[in-house]
C-alpha cells in the first residue's frame, strides 16, 4: 500500500461531530505517520536525560552523592522522576502511545496486505508511455508469451485481451509488517522478563559459599511476580580466585584476566562439579545466570581482646580506593571484644613499597608484597546493638565516631604489617593480627525469562527490516498490437526509481529477445 494513499485517507478533519466522531478522529490522528514520527522524536528525546542524570538502577551511589551535594535540586529531579527515567510515568506514556500508534497502524495495514496478496495485478493503463518507465519495440510477441516470460522472472501475472499486467516485490510489505510486529514482540518480552525475573548481587570471599536464597543476597531486586520459592535452589563455594596483570610496559598493572574457581551444586544433594567462572563466561544453572562482576582483596584478620579471647577472625572485604593499584580500605568491627568493643581502620596495599617521604603506597595491583597499614584503632560503642542496619564499610555512625577512644593512630605504626605480623594495642586492650590475604569477588545473579523471546523478536526485526528496505515493489505492463509491443513499468517504492531503471531495461530485453533463445 502506498503511504500517500494512507495519508490521504487519514487527513480528514474533525467536522462538527459527536463523541464517537471525536474518538475516531483521535484514533486516526494517533495512528497517522506524522504522529508516529513525532512520537519517535519524543521517545529519543526522552531518553537523553537518562544518560545525563545518574540513574538509580545504574549508579545508586551517584544518586546518593547528588542528594548530598544539592538536596534542593535533587528533590526537584526526583519529583520529575529524573533519577528513574526509564521506569518513569512520562517515559512509559510516550512508548505506550507510540506502540498504540504502531498497533493502530499494523492492523489496517495487515488487512490491506492480506487483501492485496489475493488481488490480481491491476489491468494495464491505456497509455503505457505515460508511465515513469516505458519502452516500445517491434516484434511478434504474444500476450501469452509475454506472460510466460514475466512469470519466469517470478512476477505475479494477469493477462487480458492483448495486455499483460505483472507485479512483484510483495515481500517488502511482509518484511515491513513483520518488522513492526517484532518491535511489539520485543516490548512484550522485555515486560514479561521484568515481571517474572529477578536480579541480585552478592560479595563472596575465597573459602566462602553461596546458596541461592533471598537471604544470602546483599541486594535483591525481584520482579513483581517473583516469590521466594521460585528461586532455583543451587549453591556453590568459591575455592580459589586468580587474577593476572600486565607486568611490563606502559600498561603495567592493567588487568589481563581473572577467574573464580567454583564448586557448584546444581540441586540440593547433587554431586558438586567444578566450574571456572570468568568475565564473559557466566555460570548457568537451569536458566539462572551467575556473572562475575568485580573483585578485590579480603585480608584475614584475627583480633584478640583484653581478656585473651579471640573475638574476631575472618576475611574482611576491603573497598577499592584506587583501581589501578587496588589500594583498598578496610574496616574491622569487633563488637564482642571485652571489656570494650574494638574497631579498626586500615588500608590494604597489595604490593607495598616505601616512598621517599617515609610513607607507603601500592605499586602494583597483584598481591606481590601485601601490607596492611593501620590507620587507627578505637575502643567504645560502635552502635551495632541498635538493630539498625549499618554499612560494613563504615566504622560507626558520625555521631558515635566522635565519642570513640583512639588507642592507636597512624603514626604509631610506621610500617605496614606483613602477613603473619601483629600489633599489640596499648594498655593491654588486645592484639590485631594480619593472618593472610584472600580475595573477594562480586557476582550478579539474574533470572530473566524474557531474554530468549526478546532475542527472537529482535532477530526477527533485523531480518525483516532487511526485506523491508531492500526489496522493491514493482509493476510491469505489456500491451501487444499488430506486431508492436509497448512496455510500461512503475515502482511503488520511494527512492528506488534509479535502481528500477536498470531492472526495467533488463525486463524489456528479456521480452524483446524474440525467439532467439527459444529453440
Amino acid at each position: 500500500m502506498s503511504v500517500g494513499e494512507l495519508e490521504k485517507e487519514r487527513e480528514s478533519k474533525p467536522a462538527g461531530m459527536g463523541p464517537v466522531g471525536w474518538l475516531r478522529w483521535s484514533w486516526r490522528t494517533l495512528t497517522s505517520m506524522k504522529t508516529a514520527l513525532i512520537l519517535l522524536f519524543l521517545f529519543a528525546l526522552a531518553s537523553v536525560p537518562g544518560s545525563l542524570v545518574p540513574q538509580r538502577s545504574v549508579e545508586p551511589d551517584q544518586v546518593a552523592r547528588f542528594y548530598q551535594d544539592d538536596p534542593g535540586l535533587a528533590e526537584w529531579y526526583d519529583r520529575f522522576q529524573l533519577f528513574d527515567v526509564f521506569t518513569s510515568v512520562w517515559f512509559a506514556a510516550i512508548y505506550l502511545l507510540l506502540f498504540t500508534s504502531l498497533i493502530g497502524c499494523i492492523i489496517p495495514r495487515t488487512t490491506t496486505y492480506l487483501r492485496e496478496l489475493r488481488r490480481k495485478p491491476p489491468a494495464a493503463p491505456r497509455n503505457l508511455t505515460r508511465l515513469p518507465h516505458s519502452a516500445a519495440f517491434d516484434g511478434a510477441l504474444t500476450a501469452d508469451e509475454a506472460a510466460r516470460r514475466l512469470r519466469k522472472l517470478r512476477f505475479r501475472v494477469e493477462t487480458g485481451d492483448g495486455w499483460v499486467a505483472a507485479e512483484k516485490g510483495y515481500l517488502r510489505e511482509t518484511g515491513n509488517l513483520l518488522f513492526h510486529i517484532s518491535l511489539l514482540g520485543v516490548l512484550v518480552a522485555v515486560g514479561f522478563g521484568s515481571l517474572y525475573g529477578y536480579r541480585g548481587n552478592v560479595l563472596i570471599a575465597e573459602g566462602d559459599g553461596f546458596a541461592n536464597t533471598v537471604a544470602t543476597y546483599d541486594r535483591f531486586i525481584p520482579g513483581p511476580q517473583v516469590s521466594a520459592e521460585s528461586l532455583e535452589p543451587f549453591s556453590f563455594d568459591l575455592t580459589d580466585f586468580r587474577a593476572t596483570y600486565q607486568v611490563e610496559g606502559e600498561k603495567r598493572g592493567q588487568e589481563l584476566d581473572y577467574s573464580a574457581y567454583l564448586k557448584v551444586t546444581d540441586t540440593p544433594g547433587a554431586a558438586p562439579r567444578d566450574y571456572e567462572l570468568k568475565v564473559n563466561e557466566p555460570l548457568e544453572v537451569d536458566g539462572t545466570q551467575t556473572y562475575l562482576i568485580g573483585h578485590g582483596y579480603a585480608p584475614v584478620f584475627r583480633v584478640t581482646d583484653g581478656k585473651g579471647q579471640v573475638a574476631f577472625e575472618g576475611a574482611v572485604p576491603c573497598l577499592i580506593a584506587d583501581k589501578p593499584t587496588l589500594t583498598s580500605e578496610c574496616v574491622v568491627k569487633v563488637p564482642d571484644a571485652q571489656p570494650s568493643p574494638l574497631g579498626f581502620l586500615m588500608r590494604f596495599l597489595p604490593t607495598s613499597v616505601p616512598l621517599t617521604d617515609g610513607s607507603y603506597a601500592s605499586a602494583f595491583p597483584g598481591a606481590i608484597q601485601p601490607g596492611v597499614e593501620v590507620l587507627g584503632a578505637f575502643s567504645g560503642d560502635l552502635g551495632m546493638g541498635s538493630g539498625e542496619p549499618r554499612s560494613v564499610y563504615e566504622l560507626a555512625p558520625p555521631e558515635l565516631m566522635k565519642k570513640l577512644k583512639p588507642l592507636v593512630m597512624g603514626k604509631d605504626v610506621p610500617k605496614p604489617l606483613a602477613p603473619g605480623e601483629s600489633i599489640d594495642l596499648p594498655g593491654g586492650a588486645g592484639k590485631l593480627e594480619f593472618v593472610e590475604v584472600k580475595e573477594w569477588m562480586t557476582l550478579q545473579i539474574a533470572y530473566d525469562p524474557g531474554r530468549l523471546p526478546a532475542l527472537l523478536a529482535a532477530s526477527m526485526a533485523t531480518i525483516s527490516i532487511v526485506f523491508s528496505l531492500v526489496i522493491r515493489r514493482r509493476r510491469v505492463w505489456v500491451r501487444v498490437k499488430d506486431g508492436s509491443v509497448e512496455v510500461g513499468g512503475l515502482t511503488r517504492t520511494e527512492g528506488s526509481a534509479a535502481g528500477f531503471a536498470e531492472e526495467f531495461d533488463d525486463i524489456v530485453k528479456v521480452l524483446a529477445a524474440g525467439d532467439k533463445d527459444e529453440r
Binding site: 503511504v3 495519508e7 505517520m33 506524522k34 508516529a36 514520527l37 519517535l40 522524536f41 521517545f43 529519543a44 531518553s47 537523553v48 537518562g50 544518560s51 545525563l52 538502577s57 545504574v58 515513469p132 518507465h133 516505458s134 519502452a135 519495440f137 522485555v190 536480579r199 600486565q246 606502559e250 600498561k251 592493567q254 588487568e255 589481563l256 584476566d257 570468568k278 568475565v279 564473559n280 557466566p282 545466570q289 556473572y291 562482576i293 550478579q444 530473566d448 531474554r451 526478546a454 532475542l455 529482535a458 532477530s459 533485523t462 527490516i465 532487511v466 528496505l469 531492500v470 520511494e494 527512492g495 526509481a497 531503471a501 536498470e502 526495467f504 531495461d505 524489456v508 530485453k509 524483446a512
Partner: protein, 314 residues
C-alpha cells in the same frame, strides 16, 4: 616480526593513509571545480528513462540529464577525478595495513580503544564510498569523504592515540569481533550518508558545481538503507554481549542509551522520507541529527559520561 616494529609500522601506515587521502581529495576537487555545473534536477520530478532497445546501452546511470548545459568537462579535470580514485584506493590499502599490523602487534581484534576504533571507522567510511563507487558513480562525493577520513585519522592520531597494548578482560571476547565490527561498518556508511546530507543542506537550488540534490539524497538513502539493519544488528549483538558480560542485556548504560537514540533517529529518518511534507530537506535534517547523536555516542559518551563502556579508554 615482533610486536614493537609491527606497532610502529602500523603508525606509519596511518600517516601514509592520511597523506594519500589528502592527495586523493585534491584530485576529486579538481574534477568537481572544473567539471560542469549541475542543475538541481528536482528530487520530486521523477526522472523519465527513455529506453531504446537493441540500440546499445540504453541509459547509463550517470549520463547527463537532457536538460543539463552540456559544457565539456576539461580532460585534466576528468583525469584528476580518476587519479583521486586511484589514490583513494591506495590510501584505503594503507588504512587496511594500519589495522592489520596493529592487530598483529597486539594479538587481538584491533578495535579495543578509541584510537583503534576511529581508525577503523575511517577505513569503513572509505570502504563504503569505494564500494558504492564500484556500482554507482558517486565520485562527486569523493573529495568530501576524503576530507572526513583524513580529519578522522588526524583526530585519532593527535587526540586519541593509545600505544599498542592489551585490553581489560571484559573486552577479551569474540563478541568484540561481532558487535564492534558491525558498529564500525554501520558507522562508516552513516559517515557517507552524513557527508551527503551536509552537502545537501549547503547546496542551494539551481545551478551549482556541487552534486545535485537528487543525487545526494539518493546516495544518503542508499547508505542508510544498508547501515540501518547493520546498526540494528550491532545493537542487538551488544545486548547479547552485555548479557554475557554484565548479567543483563539492556541496562540503560549511557552508551546503550545513545545507541538507542541513534537507532530511533535513523528510524525517524526512514519514516520522514515516506511522510508527506517531510521529504527532502526535513528528512535530511533528521538524518543529520541522528548522525550527531551517533558522533556524540562515539566521542562524547566516552569522554564526558562515566559508564560501563568507558573502559574502552580514550
Amino acid at each position: 616480526m615482533s610486536a614493537e616494529p609491527l606497532a610502529e609500522l602500523s603508525d606509519l601506515f596511518v600517516v601514509a593513509a592520511v597523506l594519500l587521502y589528502l592527495f586523493a581529495m585534491v584530485g576529486f576537487a579538481l574534477e568537481l571545480a572544473f567539471g560542469r555545473a549541475r542543475v538541481d534536477a528536482s528530487a520530486k520530478g521523477r526522472a523519465r528513462t527513455p529506453v531504446t532497445v537493441g540500440g546499445g546501452p540504453a541509459s547509463a546511470p550517470d549520463a547527463p540529464p537532457a536538460d543539463t548545459p552540456v559544457a565539456e568537462t576539461p580532460r585534466f579535470a576528468v583525469l584528476g577525478g580518476l587519479a583521486g580514485l586511484v589514490l583513494a584506493w591506495i590510501g584505503w590499502a594503507a588504512n587496511l595495513g594500519a589495522i592489520v599490523t596493529r592487530g598483529l602487534a597486539v594479538d587481538r581484534w584491533p578495535w579495543g580503544n578509541m584510537y583503534e576504533f576511529v581508525v577503523a571507522i575511517c577505513f569503513a567510511a572509505v570502504t563504503a564510498f569505494l564500494g558504492t563507487q564500484l556500482r554507482n558513480n558517486i565520485r562527486f562525493l569523493g573529495g568530501f569523504v576524503m576530507v572526513a577520513a583524513a580529519l578522522g585519522l588526524g583526530l585519532a592520531v593527535k587526540v586519541f592515540y593509545t600505544s599498542a597494548g592489551p585490553v581489560v578482560p571484559a573486552l577479551n571476547s569474540y563478541w568484540i569481533a561481532i558487535h564492534v565490527s558491525a558498529a564500525i561498518l554501520a558507522t562508516g556508511l552513516f559517515v557517507l550518508a552524513g557527508t551527503s546530507g551536509v552537502l545537501y543542506l549547503v547546496r542551494g537550488d539551481g545551478l551549482s558545481r556541487l552534486p545535485s540534490k537528487a543525487d545526494l539524497e539518493k546516495a544518503a538513502h542508499r547508505a542508510i538503507v544498508l547501515a540501518f539493519p547493520l546498526w540494528t544488528f550491532a545493537v542487538i549483538a551488544g545486548a547479547l554481549w552485555a548479557d554475557r558480560a554484565w548479567g543483563r542485556y539492556w541496562g540503560w548504560d549511557p552508551k546503550e542509551v545513545w545507541s538507542f537514540i541513534t537507532w530511533v533517529g535513523y528510524a525517524a529518518y526512514l519514516h520522514a522520507r515516506v511522510t508527506a511534507g517531510w521529504r527532502g530537506r526535513a528528512a535530511t535534517i533528521v538524518q543529520l541529527v541522528a548522525f550527531l547523536c551517533l558522533l556524540f555516542n562515539l566521542i562524547g559518551v566516552n569522554i564526558f559520561i562515566d559508564g560501563l563502556h568507558s573502559y574502552a579508554d580514550v
